[in-house]
């Protein structure tokens, strides 16, 4: 039997072939040919991974690693960097998510992008993105990961600004660019620090060094982790580097689904898992990660409540969910983080595709206040969307329930009840905006007078497949009450020697978990149900109320009888808070800081180039000043 693992490079080369063929035929191919080639490229890679899976599983747990060194890139002293691929259970999960969601989104895009002038270009970028994402995930060292990291970033800018005739799209591309540079600076410095300290960038070797006695101060390791964390925060849109993600929704919807929800933005979590041996040595970094994750999760959930644009709601929700993953990583529960990542990839992909279908059907309308009653008109979309929302909110049998619960349990186990409460509040908020979204957009009366487009089959089936997966993926989280779930035991080889930070959980802890889980589950169901009802039945009132918020008298008069309390206590402050969050913090402080950095360097640039006055005299003056300064330096140093 031929060993698939020796053909590991095919995983990257198949999509790359798609890129090359389509590039060669960019002007010649018709849409059909391009789309078939692109989908085949990704599909064959997916198929190949599935072929790989049995071989992978047939190995004993401790040996479940395929690694191939394709080429020795450079060696400098003890430092050796290879173009090498590493497929262990962690990267296998990532590859599966990337290829599976990616493949469905490719199929979906065929119809979504049909007739667009840049159709061929779009598919080239999409395939290219898959290539870089696979490089990122499969790389066996930090530098190669960085190659993929930059590559996916590049594709992301290209795709955000895909419809560049829109000015907002170009601005969004630029914003994403600037913010990500901050993260990249951290990443580069982190890699440099690791090279200086350990003289290797290979993950396996790093793990070995960590497990053996190395005598390196934990503060240096901590500094390296912190720098890499900054990189991860930039790519994964964590507070306060999250500002680019909501704006990134200017791109075509399949892009939002693929890059800005399911795959690329999760790279930060993946990176943190990859450096878990380092993190386990520098434990004082973990609380930082948890803090970042929970702050992001809470903050983004609040912001999501106040959004009107359906894609922005989902974008903030993505930020929030990635915050959960960070919290899991920061609690030492890497497997829970990855589980949530996989589940989130599926249901958020589903949600974005559903939103795309809605937007497509409504001729480009994105404001949820103007939607309504879509469940009657787009039944398939509505049903799948509901499943996605329920998974997101964490309703019992769906995947989101298991993954979110695992994360919350991890936080509780490591940091106690207070942080758990923060997570729990976020979960409730999630349910709240899920309910609002469904209530406003899908149930109730229709506001939309035009006849919606019908949804093509190529768009519908990916939704159904994803919805099915979102519904049943929770099985992997079984059995419920132990740490050794199916998923976790699959992942365990990647984290040997890492997760035993926390001692085995006792039976009483299981009881605690069960109780917490039940509380959370019931609360979430209650909230989502009430909100959905509230928004669908009293839609006008809610909307008018939100609209007229500052006028308190009107507010009381028009207040909802049934949900008055809820309104007064929750909605009003929340509405204000959400508005503040998204308006004030985002636009004033963070945008201000981001733009400010840009502006300062621009002003500095302006100043510097205004020295270039065009007068020869000035130029010579600069020259002679240089001579003077250098002479003074030299004589001064010479005199000692």
């Amino acid at each position: 039997m031929p060993s698939f693992s020796s053909l590991l490079y095919l995983l990257i080369f198949l999509p790359l072939a798609g890129v090359l063929i389509n590039t060669a035929g960019i002007r010649v191919f018709r849409e059909k040919i391009t789309s078939i080639i692109a989908c085949a490229a990704v599909g064959s890679a997916l198929l190949f991974t599935l072929c790989l899976l049995p071989e992978f599983l047939s190995l004993p747990q401790s040996e479940r690693t395929f690694s191939v060194i394709l080429y020795q890139w450079f060696a400098e002293g003890a430092l050796e960097v290879n173009i090498g691929l590493l497929l262990d259970s962690l990267s296998l999960v990532m590859v599966l998510v990337v290829l599976f969601v990616g493949f469905l989104i490719h199929i979906y895009s065929i119809k979504y992008m049909a007739g667009d002038a840049g159709f061929n270009r779009f598919f080239i970028y999409l395939n290219l993105f898959i290539v870089f994402m696979l490089i990122l995930v499969l790389a066996d060292n930090l530098i190669l990961t960085f190659v993929g990291w930059e590559g996916v970033g590049l594709c992301s800018y290209l795709l955000i600004g895909f419809w560049h005739e829109k000015k907002s799209a170009a601005d969004a591309g630029r914003k994403a660019f600037v913010v990500n540079r901050i993260g990249d600076a951290g990443f580069i410095l982190g890699i440099l620090l690791i090279i200086i300290t350990f003289n290797t960038v290979n993950y396996a070797e790093l793990t070995e060094i960590m497990n053996a006695g190395h005598g390196v101060s934990i503060f240096i390791i901590g500094a390296a982790c912190l720098l890499l964390l900054i990189g991860a925060m930039g790519k994964s849109a964590q507070f306060p580097l999250h500002v680019w993600l909501p704006d990134a929704m200017e791109g075509p919807t399949p892009v939002s689904a693929l890059i800005h929800a399911a795959t690329m933005v999760n790279a930060g979590v993946y990176l943190l898992c990859r450096i878990s041996p380092l993190l386990s040595q520098a434990q004082f970094i973990l609380p930082v990660i948890v803090a970042v994750g929970l702050v992001t999760a809470l903050y983004a959930a609040i912001s999501a409540l106040g959004q009107k644009d359906i894609k922005r709601v989902l974008a903030y929700s993505t930020v929030s969910q990635i915050g959960f993953m960070f919290a899991a990583v920061g609690s030492g529960y890497y497997m829970a983080g990855i589980f949530h990542l996989a589940a989130h990839g599926i249901f958020k992909g589903l949600l974005f595709l559903g939103a795309g279908a809605v937007i497509h059907a409504l001729h480009g309308e994105q404001d949820i206040n103007k939607m309504g009653g879509l469940s009657g008109r787009l039944p398939a979309v509505a049903k799948t969307f509901l499943i996605g929302l329920m998974a997101l909110a964490g309703i019992f049998p769906l995947s989101g329930f298991f993954s979110k619960d695992a994360v919350l349990w991890g936080v509780f186990d490591s940091y106690g009840i207070s942080l758990w409460l923060v997570g729990f509040a976020t979960a409730l908020l999630t349910a709240l905006y899920c309910g609002k979204l469904y209530g406003l957009a899908f149930s109730g009366q229709s506001n939309f007078t035009e006849k919606p487009h019908l949804i093509a089959a190529a768009m519908k089936y990916p939704l159904i497949v994803l919805a099915f997966c979102a519904a049943v993926a929770g099985v992997l989280g079984l059995p419920l009450l132990t740490k050794e779930t199916i998923f976790a035991s699959f992942l365990a080889p990647s984290f040997t020697g890492v997760e035993n930070i926390h001692a085995a959980v006792s039976a009483s802890a299981h009881m605690q978990e069960l109780i917490l889980m039940i509380i959370a589950g019931i609360a979430v169901i209650f909230v989502i149900w009430r909100t959905a009802i509230a928004y669908s039945r009293n839609r006008e009132a809610v909307l008018a109320y939100e609209h007229n918020y500052p006028r308190a008298a009107e507010f009381l008069l028009q207040g909802l009888k049934m949900d008055k309390l809820y309104d007064v206590i929750l909605v009003a402050p929340f509405y204000r808070l959400t508005k503040r969050c998204s308006l004030f913090i985002d636009q004033k402080i963070i945008d201000g800081a981001v733009n400010g950095t840009g502006k300062i360097s621009m002003v500095a640039g302006h100043f510097v180039s205004s020295l270039q006055s065009g007068y020869t005299r000035y130029y010579a003056c600069s020259f002679i000043c240089g001579v003077l300064i250098f002479s003074v330096i030299v004589i001064w140093l010479f005199k000692g």
Binding site: Y615, Y618, C621, I624, V627, L628, I635, K639
Partner: protein, 167 residues
């Protein structure tokens, strides 16, 4: 004693005429001042005993370069360029800054010189170097430099032709 007197006279002439080069309003006067500077410099060379250098100073600088300048100034017949000493305040600031900087550079140079040669500095004995020694030196050890100068002159000539020619 007499040498000292000659040195001081020559250097005063030189400095004054050098100042004249950069302060005369009309270009032609500047060129004449440069001529004076060159001549007094040749005198200083004689004082040092470098007769051959002094000779070439007169032949090359006075005989060729200054004449070339005069020729161009007269060719262009520039009348309307008067009073171009800087008046614009920005120019004035930058100019005074530059003058200060130049003064600073010279001070540093002087300081370095004092550091390097703390003793008063050996007297310069006028000891004539013969033409023969110099020629042998030039054509033997510095042959390459000499050839390079010829290449430089060729490039300069071609360049001058190329630029100076009318369209």
């Amino acid at each position: 004693m007499i040498e000292q007197a000659v040195f001081w006279i020559l250097s005063i002439i030189m400095v004054v005429s050098a100042l004249g080069v950069i302060m005369m309003k009309s270009a032609i006067n500047s060129v004449i001042c440069l001529l004076l500077t060159m001549l007094s410099l040749a005198g200083v060379y004689v004082l040092q005993g470098s007769y051959i250098v002094a000779l070439f100073q007169i032949i090359v600088y006075v005989g060729a370069i200054v004449v070339l300048f005069l020729f161009v100034v007269m060719l262009l017949n520039i009348k309307n360029i008067r009073r171009e000493v800087a008046v614009d305040y920005r120019n004035f600031i930058i100019s005074s800054l530059a003058v200060l900087t130049v003064a600073g550079v010279v001070c540093i140079l002087w300081y370095a010189l004092r550091l390097s040669m703390p003793e008063a500095g050996g007297d310069i004995v006028p000891a004539a170097a013969g033409v023969k020694e110099m020629a042998l030196e030039l054509l033997n050890r510095h042959l390459l430099a000499l050839e390079l100068v010829s290449v430089l002159l060729l490039a300069g000539a071609v360049g001058a032709l190329l630029i100076g020619r009318k369209e």
